[in-house]
Assembly symmetry: C4
Homo-oligomer: 209 residues x 4
């Protein structure tokens, strides 16, 4: 039974379902980092003062949402998973589940001495995740594995469209990381613009696949 | 393979499953906002004193449950999702995952100076979510997208029944928001009555779809 | 399409999957109530001193596990869900997601003045949940709804076996609640014995259904 | 309907899906144990000083990931579950959901007087989980249950490969527990090496099953 193609599909679907669960939990846990102002504080000013927390919350929510979508698009073309792909996917999920932590660090240190360091920490986490996504894309294409692991040949337009979409990830986040060394605020704005840009409709109608 | 109808169904089902996960997690995380009285406090009075926390917990539980049901009913008629629908759904989930925070703010500030502000904050979150639901309803109906995105034409009785049900959401929560400006308590009672009203059996027998 | 039997099955499966998610999250959140002794405390004594926390953790874990199993057994025979069944199921899940809170209250107040009150609070939550399970069992049997909502007639041996199993729930937890008024410790031991008793193999081989 | 083979498969799949949910939540909750340095601390040193937390986070992430994979591999060959198997699986999940707690204890007490005790506590939890995995493997093989519970006979190469893989678990973690009595650091390095070793590709190509 081990070699039946529907078993392979089941394995790949199982790993994707597990990953989906991790994405859904990570995106929902972000809210736990928001601190409730104590009852004896003036609520309005206390909430307004915490705006960096809310921006960080929305940004990380958007980031994890975008990651889920990218993960999902890729797995639509992965037919079979081997040990290394499970490990790569695990490293990627490690970055995703970690993201609420640098998010909270940025929210806490925004406007204080640690803002630059916090932004670097956040951007470094995104670089790590982008590397994970690239490994998830490149590994099944290489070493003659495409025939076994992919639904389509690696020069199929759909797969190449995904590859094109993934390409700017690492350089972009690396640039934002380097930018944060000099101007943390510009780097943060870059991150927000990237998330907003993603919300724009793409040139082609269907993006879910 | 991209154009096969069962693939479309798979995409829509996947987005719904992801959303279901987020609803289930958000509804279960609410309990984490309840604070345990320390062992050296008189337990009975300490628990009774926190009744606003419990009411807020039950109210938000009911709200997220109702939202899950409404989301589910709508998705039963969505055959295909495009990029914009994914973004709209993401904004809706953003509001849902955020709800535990204003819930905790209301519970903390009830009976204190911040009660009005907390109620406004809670109601504003519900207005945001109601806008999300309306966008989720209206977007697939407009611009000639119904044929592609919906299982049924937008004048189908089932779809119109959903539309009728969604219509009062935004004005209702907006009214409760405005009411909170003057009488926060009346606004809170309005929210509770709405949740109780929902628990009544509808005129037609089957409501799950 | 609304009346097709496979749609009904889909609705029921969807509600069960959502409930399963809530059970899985509630059972996993219990660990968050365990407090880590600070690094400057003597670790061994600090951990040993917290044994009531661990017992409470294991007990509530077992309770939610048993509830999941009971919920699952019942839903195997529910073909269709109507509005009231969704509401009843929601009330049941409300109790389940709430359970980590009385668990933490018992763990905190064990051996202190609040122990009796904490035990009453815990037992009262279990009474509420048991009432929810009974409503979930009785509602689809009554008022001529069995034909629509159930897979089998209510006098089917499988359904009657479930009914037999549910019957002792409310009286048992009510008895443990009353017992806690006089001897909280005896009530706690009763709860633990009940959970251990459940772990014994039943007379019939298959219990998962 | 109770005896139909596809029902059995459904039962087993349901228990696996519930377990998958618990694994996914436990792996994602680990991040909540990471503490954000306050804004008035020097961020860089404060983060660097907490490196044991990050190592503990990554280690427990890897451990739960490996456990999920092992659980999944085993369940691929379990056709039917009986009461005792549900109880054994529950004990295993109890250990998995508990793991974030000893992880936090190790992170807090590393480099302090409690380090030895914390390492023992962590290793003891892994011994408990390894015992759970062995029970999950051995129970369906014994007492003539294999025909009912397993997809394959217990001498099938696939099942024997799983058994071979599980065998070192208990002695390994027991050895690391005993090692922690004398040299906690060596024990910790052993745990990390084990996780790294697992990331290496196995001799055979496909490991997901």
């Amino acid at each position: 039974m081990s070699e039946a193609p529907d078993d392979d599909a089941r394995e790949s679907a199982r790993l994707e379902a597990f990953s989906d669960g991790v994405f859904a939990i990570a995106i929902t846990l972000l809210v736990l980092e928001l601190k409730v102002p104590p009852f004896d504080a003036a609520l309005g000013p206390a909430l307004l003062e915490r705006w960096p927390s809310y921006v960080a919350f929305v940004l990380s929510f958007a980031m994890i949402g975008i990651m889920w979508l990218n993960h999902h698009r890729l797995f639509a073309y992965i037919r079979r998973v081997d040990h290394m792909l499970v490990v790569i996917n695990g490293l990627l999920l490690l970055g995703v589940t970690f993201l609420p932590f640098p998010t909270a660090v940025v929210a806490e240190h925004f406007g204080h001495a640690g803002e630059r360091g916090a932004t670097l920490f956040y951007a470094a986490t995104l670089v790590f995740i982008a590397l994970g996504f690239n490994a998830l894309l490149l590994y099944p294409m290489g070493g003659g594995r495409a025939k076994t692991l992919l639904e389509v040949p690696p020069d199929h337009p759909a797969w190449r469209a995904i590859a094109r979409q993934y390409r700017p990830g690492v350089p972009l986040y690396l640039a934002l990381f380097l930018l944060a060394l000099v101007w943390p605020r510009v780097s943060q704005i870059g991150l927000i613009l990237f998330a907003l840009f993603f919300a724009l409709p793409p040139r082609k109608a269907s993006v879910m696949r």
